[in-house]
Symmetry: C2
Subunit: 152 residues, 2 copies
DNA sequence: GAAATCCCGACATTGATTCTCGACATTCAG
DNA sequence: CTGAATGTCGAGAATCAATGTCGGGATTTC
């Protein structure tokens, strides 16, 4: 299961991407993003901070500040966001490339049958999810004029 | 990440399957399974209970009791075990077929862009993991006489 | 200078994970 | 029949992760 935090991050990014697609896009305040995406404002602060540190959005401080995308949706990777918000994707710590950790009780990775079988599943899964971008989410929605009031 | 509990369950099943492959297989006590698989004994009790309730192993009570497989390894599904031990596999509650739950904040599932994109990933992932059985794990190990002391 | 905004660490609450423990039920050897 | 060896099972302890809230500081603009 992905966490609530990840859902909020995605909703916030969708909100920012929708705004960026407008004729006259503006930076959105946390207040506004929280309202449009249905996210608790004070929680959203922390989430947007992480997303910003990941280089996906930029923030402007001070009066008339706000947030805006600094990457094209097609360059925003869902799997990278997952790693940023929820941590490693791998089913076992010993299968993560960026957050590798030896399993404490493992005597020999090379012959571990659990590792071997999950490795195969994981590689196949990675291929699928690593190809996904925010743009795929934007395109997967119906056109705005067909939504007729749905929030997402 | 799969839980430690799931790893213990897999190790226990591998232990039982290895035993079942012997010329004169016997039911193994918790004590023995815990020793061979490196699992805390009192924790293993609860795990084996769940695995038994899932119909994968049988227990014999009383003196000279123990546990043994009651399915062929090729009929023991890894994904079913995952559901039994760790709960739903789906990335969102609204995508789980056996443990479906509506997302609290969702106004319309049909147009939810988060749901839609994760649904595609999930279906592909399911196809892979649902085909896996305990037998795949047994076969993925090197032959016993090549292991030379490795526990897994 | 005041107001609006983002920044950030501290902490509260709840639930999941990972066990341990004690007591009971069942079986079998003698 | 008794006792020892086993599985059964609910209660709960210890730790950690998830999901927020809060207070106050830093920055910018009017």
């Amino acid at each position: 299961m992905i966490t609530q935090k990840m859902k909020y991050a995605l909703k916030a990014l969708l909100t920012l991407a929708d705004e960026a697609a407008q004729p006259r896009p503006e930076a959105l305040t946390i207040e506004e993003i929280a309202r449009r995406s249905g996210t608790p404002k004070r929680f959203l602060e922390h989430i947007l901070l992480e997303v910003r540190n990941a280089g996906i959005i930029a923030s402007i401080r001070g009066r008339s500040g706000g947030y805006s995308l600094i990457k094209r949706p097609m360059d925003i990777s869902i799997s990278e966001l997952l790693r940023t918000i929820d941590g490693p994707i791998a089913p076992l710590p010993c299968l993560s490339r960026r957050a590798y950790q030896r399993c404490e009780d493992c005597t020999d990775e090379a012959t571990c049958r659990i590792r071997k079988v999950f490795a195969e599943v994981f590689w196949s899964y990675l291929v699928i999810i690593e190809s996904l971008t925010l743009d795929d989410m934007l395109r997967s929605g119906v056109a705005a004029d067909q939504v007729l009031g749905a929030a997402q």
